[in-house]
Symmetry: C2
Subunit: 550 residues, 2 copies
Amino acid sequence: MFSTMQDVPLTVTRILVHGALAHGKAQVVTWTGDGEPQRRTFHEVGLRSIQLANALHDELGVEEGQVVGSLMWNNCEHLEAYLAVPSMGAVLHTLNLRLPAAQLTWVVNHAADRVIIVNGSLLPLLAPLLPGLKSVEHVVVAGPGDRSVLDGCRATVHDYEELIEGRPVRYPWPVIDERRAAALCYTSGTTGDPKGVAYSHRSIYLHSMQINSVEGFGMSGKEMVLPVVPMFHANAWGTTHSAFMTGASILMPDRFLQPGPLADMIETVRPTVSAAVPTIWQGLLAELDARPRDVSSLREVYIGGAACPPSLMKAFEERHGIRVVHAWGMTELSPLGSVAHPPAGLTAEEEWRYRESQGLFPASVEYRLTSADGELVPLDGTSVGELEVRGPWIAGAYFGGAEGEPFRPEDKFTPDGWLKTGDVGAITEDGFLTLTDRAKDVIKSGGEWISSVELENHLMAHPDVAEAAVVAVPDEKWGERPLATVVLKDGSGIGYEALRAFLSERVAHWQLPERWALIEEVPKTSVGKFDKKVIRRRYADGELEVTQLA
Amino acid sequence: MFSTMQDVPLTVTRILVHGALAHGKAQVVTWTGDGEPQRRTFHEVGLRSIQLANALHDELGVEEGQVVGSLMWNNCEHLEAYLAVPSMGAVLHTLNLRLPAAQLTWVVNHAADRVIIVNGSLLPLLAPLLPGLKSVEHVVVAGPGDRSVLDGCRATVHDYEELIEGRPVRYPWPVIDERRAAALCYTSGTTGDPKGVAYSHRSIYLHSMQINSVEGFGMSGKEMVLPVVPMFHANAWGTTHSAFMTGASILMPDRFLQPGPLADMIETVRPTVSAAVPTIWQGLLAELDARPRDVSSLREVYIGGAACPPSLMKAFEERHGIRVVHAWGMTELSPLGSVAHPPAGLTAEEEWRYRESQGLFPASVEYRLTSADGELVPLDGTSVGELEVRGPWIAGAYFGGAEGEPFRPEDKFTPDGWLKTGDVGAITEDGFLTLTDRAKDVIKSGGEWISSVELENHLMAHPDVAEAAVVAVPDEKWGERPLATVVLKDGSGIGYEALRAFLSERVAHWQLPERWALIEEVPKTSVGKFDKKVIRRRYADGELEVTQLA
């Protein structure tokens, strides 16, 4: 029996129109460094988005299904592109400005971007690449920057404001199949070519609804969100779409992502909620210790993208009254997987145990754990396996294989269509996920798995340790053993024996690292994650000064 | 360009499996009057639902697409039917036990229910109808009640517990197109035959996600919800689906809907949130005044189904610290239309103005106002028109016309597929809806519209008035004029002149009723709404003692 409900598609167009109409007074505030922040209402942003759609269509000839790239910071114009490009039936390709030049060129060519909207401040990055960007016909420059670097380039150059000025504020929105692509985002994989995830209108809409839920980020018209996580990184975790959907105002940090300006803009503009990777919060915490600012407007900050040291969560809560909420996701999950809101009725201690986990999955993220040999692992809170997930905002393939078709690498997708996350952990009977490691970083020692992340977290809880990374290194007897690399705080002269004694009170004896090395800082990927591949290579190349304890 | 996201349907099956797995410890508590409430965990409810599906399939031969009726109060077994029947691909038809016998027979025959699951306490209602229920082959009785009334009936009678006992706790769930029907609910229209709305898996899932949002009812694992609104009335406003989705525990009132037992169960089981029509809250307020109970667990109550007197909202807030949130919906909207959560940054007085409105629409409910001649009315907060809506959980037709096809009566659906709500009101520039009347109840006086509801609300704010209903009556000079019918509080001897003087301070002079009548109580429909049709008929029949003021 078919239902009698209306067949209305879930589209980004609906987010654009609704936000502009029903939440017209909400604001997008973009930080400008010195001087006044730029302020626009959602109503103005909506009209400008429609003007942008008209400009792209009428002036640049952008048709449905074509790809428009954005090489931009988090700012109002980037949000306008977020809303306009998918609504007109085209696809927004957010370009990760931290990718190496060769990879940036590769992804633009792979996605066949016809237009690139670029911030003026990023022209020095784009200009040298342009000769190699074969499909790019138009460059639209938003915001200040030296445009002379584009002189002589093959593409037609436009000024963003001049392009949209005076355009109509209506657009004949196409009726869009909700399963069509709305946005493209390439994972910044550390091996092989980047892999494209083509989000659909449906996946963006459903994911935004989840972010709006209490079990998500709880967005509403009472909030102002500060997305520190870049808009080129999994849609800024959905924060800007969901803000526009519910009328939460948005504070855009633009290129001012250093701890000092972040503290300044929080004090001045007073956001209530924010989202970023742990390294950003670590930096902000140190900044606030050094130069206190009023950050009391912040109610909650969401932390994800890498495991968060519990010490950092507690520091924010105790020193600044800010609740740090742990979340887990991946580009392939739009990115929301799980959020660590604890259940009701717990003691403070129990609550912390839940909050330090990666959290609970929403109904739309189906989950299972599998062992190395592909068997299901019990969800009992202790058995460990690789996490596999399934759901309407989870990738089932990557964009553009050899023949332009979607492709499904075997190490990423199961034969029955689930995504293999590459994360290893346990799930409790009441559904809480604790990740212990990346599948590739886990240390396989004599048939047992040792979590590199668990060792790191314990080490980083030591008062003398600034950062620590633990990697697997080959061992004749055990197959692999952990190597602990440590960044000490300034002035500390603590020895390895003392650190190992500290660890020995917290983990089983057979997990204790024998090999130790001091490093100046932990190498990071373009999105701020520990880059353990680099440490393993340095070890292999003999670059580290390794001490072997008895 | 097609996206690379997984094509996973939004289904009730997902709600069932997720709730049972991830929120296994949450509870369904059913009130039993005296004695201990019945308590089951979501894990147990999930397993029992799967057993019910197996029993319906294996024992009763229920196939995909067939209809299973439920004639039940709000209790755990009803929730099990909610989860099991749609998940197996069948359709749950919730029967409104307050419908007149002839209509109840009509809807069962119209929907061709093969099975009816009925509470033992409702057998006296069902038994006399059974001979006329042509399609019903099986009756499944849940809970205590005299079953001898079924002796000799044509259908096979089963005991619910015996039927499900020992059945497998796995089921080969079919892959369901999310647009297929999951549940049937007939509107209790006061004119013509009842009209069936066939909710889809998709509409139930999306609507539940909206209920979970902060701009919805904010459901999460930290809450316990008390759905006083019946599960046969627009899925109890989505509360039980969304509770099972997020792990909010549920307090089921069963048949104990009188103010006394409601106050008792709130004090004993301590729910945090509830939902009901205004008359229920009015009764509870009087009960608490007469016999105080500890209702401090309640954080928020959602009120809808009829316009809520502001005096009632303020009384709950001031006397009991319970926030009353106004919401608007209809069976055809699953039922959520709008919720009156005010925006941030308002004075207390401004906030009340927003809270007394019907509220803000979510992105999934597109809205417009049209005049009597079909023109669009500006959304300026003052211009009044009929509300039309469009969206993925809104009916686009009714179930089963002459040839079994969906049908679209012209007075209910526009040619471009929007639902005509029959409600008249205004929408502000920032998206807040204020309904002033039903299109059929509005008083058309000399070319102006007078809101009957506004006059009623003012009258009911008078300390001597218990209830008041205002209806249009024919008038030679003005076409129509308001007739005020009033129920005075016990012992009051206030006169019509004094009431009119009270009104004259609150509405324009030309809106003041000339005709007044005392009544003993306002007649109500089966769902507790004022039944103005009855008052108009009594007036026309000369049954009311009408006083005409100068």
